[in-house]
Subunit: 536 residues, 2 copies
């Protein structure tokens, strides 16, 4: 067989040749809607690759971005790795300090950023000592940025011819670098290779996962800077689907605009975004257009939301679990024939309460604290371990492997596996509540609490307790004008959770979220860890 | 990212874990229907792997089979490569001499064969000097075979424990060896690697190709011994589909039995099989059950057959083009949105008259005799060249690369590419008719001729001509009791082909077929090459 390396450029070339006139629509910040196709994307990405080479960037070099879900950012997904360099997609939701840390840690010599990040870049400038070129991903006049010799992306592009023959090299070469959100320490980098990205793009399009076809219109609402928007930009191209980039506007109204006008059939993102979208539909009485599939990940999907999407709007909601370290495809909650035999209610129960089922290319196992495999009975919760060709081996610029002796990666999640091959996260290892030596699942309590009328967000943390070591404390953020009392909550939870898991108390507070939209339990623990002992 | 080699065993392990109870049904020769599932397949394949090791077979060794589409053969697809050896799937449709040649050329030390090949093996015995173990893929009593110390597959399996941890090794190691049918010379071997088979299994399940899901029930009617039944056995497992193995009975009634009783949704094979199946449906008045998708390849699909399947039985017929050298996925004729916009008639016209559209993982180009790329206009016919990670690099035990300097493989086909990304074969290079220095497409004439009432098979060859060098001669095999005259045929062809392509004459004869069901033009040329000159 031919030694044919799996190159990201082959995805672009395929899309341009086989689906050249399939549309790509982008909503850049403060610019009109942009509309082109895969052939034109390849043409511009080819020019961007030559632009990067002109700047002296090649194999071994790194290019950082601070950018939204826009077509220019998408072009760089192909142009930078295609030119043999590594694209570091900076996460603007991190703190200034962390953003500067990641750009410096990556060792980037070029920073490309959207106009809306001019102030941020100006602030970071003194710390970005390795950056040789600052390029604004913009057209037209550039702002004056003191101390920065600013270049314009469109101006540079206009000077270049398009690269015709993309180079072929070692498929294990680094391609895209993403950092974890790092709530407890400095963000850690995960370097995706050409090989891992191509394999992930092939596997994620299969019917067990995203089930993409050329007839789909796909709009990723997870961020391009956060584990490559789940690899959807590559999977969309490899399947020749229409592709819609929503820019920076993820509110319900802005998403609805594109869903309706572009005929979006598939989207995905964190629950917060889809809660807002559902609120928009409920408020306006509009329908969801051609939208049929929503993949939701990042944190557990509220069952009530999934149910409403399905029953009222005909949109199938499927959970996804993954992490930066798994590129991120881990499991997706798509039905199986065995499940379907049990009837619609049973299907929904599993699909809406499990993170998803096993996918080809990523092996899962659940082990106890001694490393012994636990049975796949849907009850035995243990440490979730994974391995496969798109799972991290070691963190970027780290000398130590991130794996155990048998090549498994500890996800930091506590989970169960069931007889249908479905996995359910019950906790994060670091959020685990150990009460009287037994584990309490904070996520199970949160899921039950959030379905209580009036509750917008719910968080459960383990707090200090004289007798039991730790006990669960419930923090509730109600909807504006809604009232939630301890009595109604207790009544609501009683039939829904294990009896001894009942939180010892409930406080009303704003639930803090991390840069990626997850509940920031670290902040809550700092705030409330001694709450029960002090209350006495 | 982890260095995780792509192993065939990972497909089996995935199917056994994620779809363990999904059924596999097999119709062994002269034995009752066999029914088990992916978990049991993995268990038995694991025992077969240990059996192979017990025989002293491992890396560097070859195992040949002479077997039908049965579960035992399927087990060997995983067991032999899984144990690090290479499985050579012998083609029983070749001549005795060629079968012996391929087994000896492979250098196999084990031959596993079905009971129905006992006579064949007995005949070949004197030539098979390298075979150390003869194993009959059978249960129960074994026949007496003089000069052969015969072992029984089931007896050997019963003595083994199942292999639990499949070994991991270089993904570029050889896994399965297939020989081309070799009509002009000795068959040539193509050695598939673990990597090429896994990539092919992932790509062929995508919606642009076979569009498999766990809900499918898949029955391959192409032979497991002929380019691994198009890789379907692996693609079915990777998608967790129900799998039906029809044994050696490919007649209409036998297929209908399984299609009806097992709920087959997807099948594939050469046109001859599906012509017989359609004749069965027409004769009995039965319907096609749950069958929705037929992929037909090996030679061009008669349009009338596709039309009848679609309009009368609701079965979508899609062509596939590929060859042993391409594992075999080349193109598949699935619709695209751009095509769909043109309406149903236009879709059918393209789907039924083109071999298929571009797939990710295999690049196509059409070049003229000077090697220059021809435009994708649907008209410019040229030499079809391919490359990609599951395309041959060199033939087995051959020192020379089979590729040109840029890594392209000459398919030996003449084809066009059109603006929708669809490819159409117009001829084989060796069947090309050069009349007055211009190419005549024998396939176009055959397709037109076979749609003439009364015609069962039609072949066109170039025969010697004093003035034009060569001219087309039409050979027609009518249906029993049907009559086809030169006059009716001329009338039929007039509006359907280029005027100067009109065959100079037509003869009525049985159209000979090769071992893989293709028209054997070599035989026809030997018989008729001087027909026109001698007729004068």
């Amino acid at each position: 067989m031919q030694h044919f390396p799996l190159m990201i450029s082959s995805i672009l070339q395929y899309a341009a040749t086989a689906h050249g006139d399939r549309e790509i629509v982008s909503r850049p910040v403060d610019e009109p809607l942009w509309r082109y196709n895969y052939a034109a994307l390849a043409e511009r990405a080819g020019r961007a690759a030559n632009m990067i080479r002109q700047l002296g960037i090649g194999p071994g070099d790194f290019v950082s971005t601070l950018a939204w879900n826009t077509h220019r950012h998408y072009e760089l997904f192909f142009a930078v790795p295609g030119a043999g360099a590594v694209l570091h997609t900076g996460n603007p939701r991190l703190s200034d300090e962390q953003i500067a840390y990641t750009i410096n840690h990556a060792g980037s010599s070029v920073l490309m950023f959207e106009r809306s990040f001019a102030d941020l870049v100006q602030r970071l400038r003194p710390q970005l000592t390795q950056i040789r070129h600052f390029i604004m991903l913009a057209d037209g006049d550039l702002p004056d940025m003191p101390g920065i010799e600013l270049l314009g992306y469109e101006q540079l592009l206009a000077q270049e011819e398009s690269l015709q023959d993309w180079p072929s090299f070692d498929e294990n070469a680094g391609a895209i670098l993403c950092y974890t959100s790092g709530t407890t320490s400095n963000p850690k980098g995960v370097l995706y290779s050409h090989r891992s990205i191509v394999l992930h793009a092939m596997a994620s399009g299969l019917s067990s996962a995203f089930n993409f076809s050329a007839f789909d219109c796909i709009m990723p609402c997870s961020s391009l800077y956060h584990c490559t928007a789940w690899g959807v930009p590559f999977a969309a191209a490899i399947n020749g689907a229409k592709f819609v980039l929503p820019g920076d506007k993820m509110d319900g109204e802005s998403l609805q605009e594109l869903i309706q006008s572009e005929g979006v059939t598939f989207s995905g993102g964190v629950p917060t975004i889809w809660t807002m979208y559902l609120e928009h539909l409920e408020r306006t009485g509009e329908d969801a257009g051609k939208l049929t599939d929503l993949i939701i990940g990042g944190s557990a999907v509220p069952r009530a939301m999934a149910e409403k999407f399905q029953s009222k709007y005909g949109v199938a909601v499927r959970q996804l679990w993954g992490m930066t370290e798994t590129s991120p495809l881990g499991v997706v909650a798509t039905p199986t024939p065995k499940l379907a035999e049990l009837g619609e209610d049973a299907v929904n129960e599993v699909i809406w309460t499990r993170q998803g089922r096993l996918q080809y290319g990523i092996e899962l196992k659940v082990v106890d604290e001694q490393g012994e495999r636990l049975p796949a009975d849907g009850k035995s919760a243990g440490i979730l371990m994974v391995r496969g060709p798109w799972t991290v081996e070691r963190y970027f610029r780290n000398e130590d492997s991130a794996l155990d002796a048998d090549g498994w990666f500890d996800t930091g999640d506590i989970a169960t596996l069931d007889e249908h091959g479905f996995m359910r996260i019950t906790d994060r290892t670091k959020d685990v509540i150990k009460s009287g030596g037994e584990w309490v699942s904070s996520i199970d309590i949160e899921n039950a609490a959030v379905s209580c009328p009036g509750v917008r967000l719910a968080a459960v943390i383990g707090v200090e307790h004289d007798k039991w070591g730790e006990r669960p404390l419930l923090i509730v953020e109600p909807y504006p004008d809604a009232e939630v009392t301890m009595e109604t909550m207790q009544e609501h939870l009683e039939s829904r959770i294990v009896k001894w898991w009942m939180p010892d108390d409930m406080v009303i507070d704003v639930v803090p979220l991390t840069a990626t939209g997850k509940i920031d339990k670290k902040v809550l623990r700092e705030r409330y860890y001694t709450y029960l002992v002090e209350r006495k």
